[in-house]
Amino acid sequence: MRMPRRRTCAIDWMIDMNKLLTMGYARGDGGIGIRNILLIVYISNCAAAVAKSIADSFPCGQDVDVLGCEGCRYNPLMEEKLLTFLTHPNVGAALIVGQGCEPHSAVHLAEQTSRTDRAAEVLLLNQASGFDEAVERGKIMVSIMLEGLRTTPRKPFYYSDLIIASECGGSDYTSGLVANPLLGRLNDDLRAQGATVLFEEMYEAIGLKELLLKKCADEKARLQIGVTYDKFMAYAVTGGQFALAPGNIRGGLTTIEEKSMGAVCKIGTSPITGVLKLCQKPPHPGLYYVDMIADDERGCGFSVSEDASSDLLYATCGAHVCFLTSGLGHVVNNPIIPTIKITGNSVSFGRLSNDMDFDASSALTGEHTMEELKSQLHTLLLQVLSGRRTKGEALGHREAILNFENQTREVLCL
């Protein structure tokens, strides 16, 4: 449901919801993307080398990206995830590469993708005579589809179309002082304009259950957040591990609660609308928590957990772009949604100026106010939405690993 576009915002330079953010890429299923990616998806690890060889033969700027499923076992949620990637608004065409004998079907994925008016091709390695021949065939398929993408129609992209993901990683003492609160302020503004904001990392909200419950918009959201918090807490206790990494400690954080207080700042002050499970789209604009771990021990549980993979999973809920705050600095990006990396640590930015997108450390020195930095960050966001490459995109980063979770479609009561 699109929000009305005639409400005027009180914030100075942010005009109104009818403001054109950019001209997006129109998809046949109604989606609007900010990138026009040709996505290569491999459906088992056995097909990964061919898929990556094909992607590697196209330069960074051509928006040919690759991701896939590493295991060779059927998992309904994995299939759904792959399909949401293939039909993500930022994706315009797809090549699905399979060995030919794995439990997931490349043909089925291609058929489902084609139904959204996207070009989709299948490359089965069992039908090729050799590795090199398979790569060459794939390159030809991609080249033809890239030609087709040149004529993708454009369509106005408004705040109410925008879905933002918020993540932190490599936190240090500055994260809770600058980068996370700054992102929280921007998220408040974006919400006020009608955009949707997503967040996750309940592992990094440990100790703040009451605070989160108070931020919930209604009783249903309170129930969902409470249940989700308890699930994460149980996993952390069972696994004997909390998300306070050695780097966090070296960076000046002393407890998981201290880290959590900084991490939660990034969601801003808007009420929490509810909890989404993987592959669920927000039913209407709001501030949503995305539950990214398994509901029970089936699947790999929390076997894979790092920032790039979490950023990628936001794409299953329709996020167009991701903010990643990091005091210690970060280098990752993911294949579908551009990642804008922010630090509040001038030393980190100095070291990683070719990787980090935004230096917010001047808030600590008093050179800039948070409001000024928020305005600059918003401008950067608009530029990225309009096609400016993030540092991670420009360098060709495309990390992320998919896990084999099982989830129900409802938030469970434990």
Binding site: E70, G170, Q241, E297
Partner: protein, 362 residues
């Protein structure tokens, strides 16, 4: 764990069969740089491999594997690429390998950024190659070979050929590590392994394999794997769990299943990751027997790909029902002597290491 025995007839002074530089990453966040560094050299035909961990969290089984790769007999030098803030400590892995005779170095992406870490990594490996002959690690492990059978249609003579090849290897003093997809309780009980610890491990392996197959939407249909498992039973010496080495010649069944909460740490579940598991158990070389096309570029331990079937596809040996198992052994010898295998010519190396939890007292 005693991990040495008399070198086999085939084993030349019981050393590695390659002089690899291994690029090892500690977390997914440093995987991009690690792969870029590795591929820079592989595109030039250099023997550089890449392997690493994806998850940020701590896991002993992942660490055990990484330590095995860093000190594998085929690895002469190790570049550990860390991110900087992760749980798994790059310096400690490098120190472990250094103490065992490897030339090592550590770099962090978070400290210098993508472009510099890649430049630095390339420069370090160039330097490692220039000093490669100075490094002469003392290896005490035995002569270990990984064997995987990936077939749906193989039966009869073909299966017997693979089993006969394994028997030949054992006769020559090799330990053959083999992962049975399913091991029935009957098979486990009939083995009559004298060592009570191995007997217990065997029963555990059987229980876990059956449980997983039963609860994961049906049994695997790798009939060839099941048939070869049966034929190998008389040669079984014991069980190795994740990153454990065989302690003598014979067939060793690999148990890389989670011990508790079976689904939580699902095993790697692809042939490529199984090959990497064998390397963690000390395999110098893997043999992949299949009846379809499988592309592998296995890191650490190269893979001899032998496949049945008349269709043209990439493989090192084409087998048919008349092939003498001794031919496979000859090809193994050739590969051990330095013959470049198909998988070694490929640039991209793929694998996935899952986090598992196992009890490993033996």
């Amino acid at each position: 764990m005693k991990d040495s025995w008399k070198p086999s007839v085939l084993g030349k002074e019981n050393q590695g069969i390659r002089k690899k530089v291994l690029v090892l990453y500690t977390v997914n966040c440093s995987s991009f740089a690690a792969h870029e560094i590795c591929y820079h050299f592989r595109k030039k035909g250099k023997d550089v491999d890449v392997v690493g961990n994806e998850s940020c969290y701590d896991n002993q089984m992942v660490i055990n594997r990484l330590l095995r790769y860093a000190t594998h007999v085929n690895v002469r030098a190790v570049l550990v690429v860390g991110h900087g803030c992760e749980f798994i400590q790059a310096e400690k892995i490098a120190a472990f390998a250094r103490e065992r005779g490897r030339n090592t170095s550590v770099i962090y992406g978070q400290r210098v950024g993508t472009e510099k870490v890649i430049r630095d990594g390339i420069a370090i490996i160039e330097e490692m190659f220039s000093r490669m002959d100075e490094v002469n690690p003392v290896n005490s492990v035995g002569d270990i070979l990984g064997l995987t059978v990936q077939t749906e249609r193989l039966q009869g003579t073909s299966v017997e050929q693979i089993a006969a090849f394994a028997a030949l290897c054992v006769q020559q003093g090799k330990a053959v590590v083999y992962k049975p997809l399913v091991l029935t309780a009957k098979q486990a009980m009939e083995l009559g392994i004298s060592c009570p610890e191995y007997a217990k491990m065997l029963i555990d392996l059987s229980d876990k394999s059956i449980w997983l197959q039963k609860n994961d939407r049906g049994y695997a249909c790798m009939t060839g794997n099941l048939a070869v498992t049966s034929l190998l039973m008389p040669l079984v010496r014991g069980v190795v769990k994740i990153a454990m080495r065989p302690t003598g010649p014979g067939v060793w069944l690999l148990d890389n299943y989670q011990d508790q909460d079976l689904y939580k740490g699902y095993p790697n579940a692809t042939v490529l990751s199984d090959l990497l598991e064998y390397a963690a158990c000390g395999a110098k070389l893997n043999v992949l027997a299949c009846d379809r096309r499988i592309d592998t570029a296995s890191p650490v331990a190269p893979t001899l790909c032998c496949s049945f079937g008349e269709r043209e596809w990439d493989r090192d040996i084409q087998l048919d029902e008349k092939t003498d198992p001794g031919l496979i052994l000859e090809e193994v010898k050739a590969a051990e002597a330095g013959k470049t295998l198909l998988c070694e010519k490929r640039v991209f190396q793929e694998h996935m290491i899952f986090r598992n939890s196992q009890n490993q007292c033996r």
